[in-house]
């Protein structure tokens, strides 16, 4: 593992990050957008772990941040899903294009 340079790990994560970004923009379905967000969060987690491992091995901060991000992600997804279900009841769709009442 030590032969893998840090930058490669980071590039992996940033590829994942921008995949998430692309997915977030290109999808109209809220659930798939949520999945894109999960990808983004995971890419961040990889970063934290990688930094912890490569640059600051004497600490555990990266681990903790990952831990908290995962926790928050769990909370976020549960709320997001609740909202999506509620929207589905109201609009009978979960397409973001159709749920645009918050404008002007």
């Amino acid at each position: 593992m030590e032969q893998v340079p840090l930058s490669h790990v980071l590039i992996l994560s940033s590829c994942l990050f921008f995949l998430g970004i692309y997915g977030f923009f290109s999808r109209r379905n809220m659930i798939t957008m949520l999945m894109s967000i999960e990808l983004i969060l995971n890419s961040i987690n990889i970063n934290f772990i990688a930094f912890n491992k490569y640059l600051y091995p004497h600490q555990l901060e990266g681990v903790f941040f990952t831990l908290f991000i995962i926790t928050v992600a769990a909370a976020e997804v549960s709320l997001a899903i609740a909202i999506i279900i509620n929207l589905y009841r109201k609009f009978n769709t979960i397409d973001v294009e159709d749920t645009n009442t918050m404008k002007f």
């Binding site: 032969q3 290109s26 659930i31 990808l39 004497h58 681990v63 903790f64 831990l67 995962i70 909370a75």
Partner: protein
């Protein structure tokens, strides 16, 4: 090149492949499954990096919790086999442009940045160490964020129940 390095590259390729599939597939259920696989790949990378505890969390929470939740919500809101509608070309163009530019930018920086690792002796990322520091209330202890996050989880749970609850129509 050691075996773990090879493993890393293989896993990285897998994670990316599944990520791409997640983002590009037109069937939502498949997208969820590809996401699942991608997340498992990430867990494997954690293991390679000697972060067994995180890998375990990844499996338990992401794979076992979040993705399952997503799949449930797909069941609740979709007919099976439904194809997702495609994007408007204008939007696609913008998203490709932005993420492409972002990626290039990030890659550029990452390549040209000189990283300075600390020289202090490493400590083991064992569950024991993690657990000790997590509930430690002295300096560098994480007991306070830990409690806050637990409250946050509780609040999220209650909140999502209330939001998702059927309201009585007048």
């Amino acid at each position: 090149m050691s075996a773990s390095a090879v493993m890393f590259y293989i896993l990285g390729a897998l994670v990316l492949t599944f990520g791409v599939l997640t983002v590009f597939t037109r069937k939502i259920f498949r997208a969820a499954v590809y996401l699942l696989l991608s997340l498992i790949g990430i867990a494997a990378i954690y293991i390679i990096m000697d972060m067994q505890f995180i890998a375990a969390l990844q499996i338990v929470i992401y794979v076992g919790g979040i993705v399952v939740l997503i799949i449930f919500s797909i069941f609740l809101t979709h007919q099976a086999g439904e194809r997702l509608p495609s994007r408007l070309p204008k939007h696609l163009l913008w998203s490709i442009l932005l993420s492409g530019v972002g990626l290039l930018l990030a890659t550029h920086i990452l390549y040209h940045f000189s990283y300075k690792p600390s020289i202090e002796p490493a400590i083991e990322h064992s569950v024991k160490n993690i657990g000790t520091q997590l509930i430690d209330f002295r300096s560098y202890g994480y007991v306070f964020p830990f409690e806050v996050v637990s409250i946050l989880l509780l609040a999220a749970m209650v909140g999502s129940i209330i939001i998702a609850m059927k309201t009585k129509k007048n």
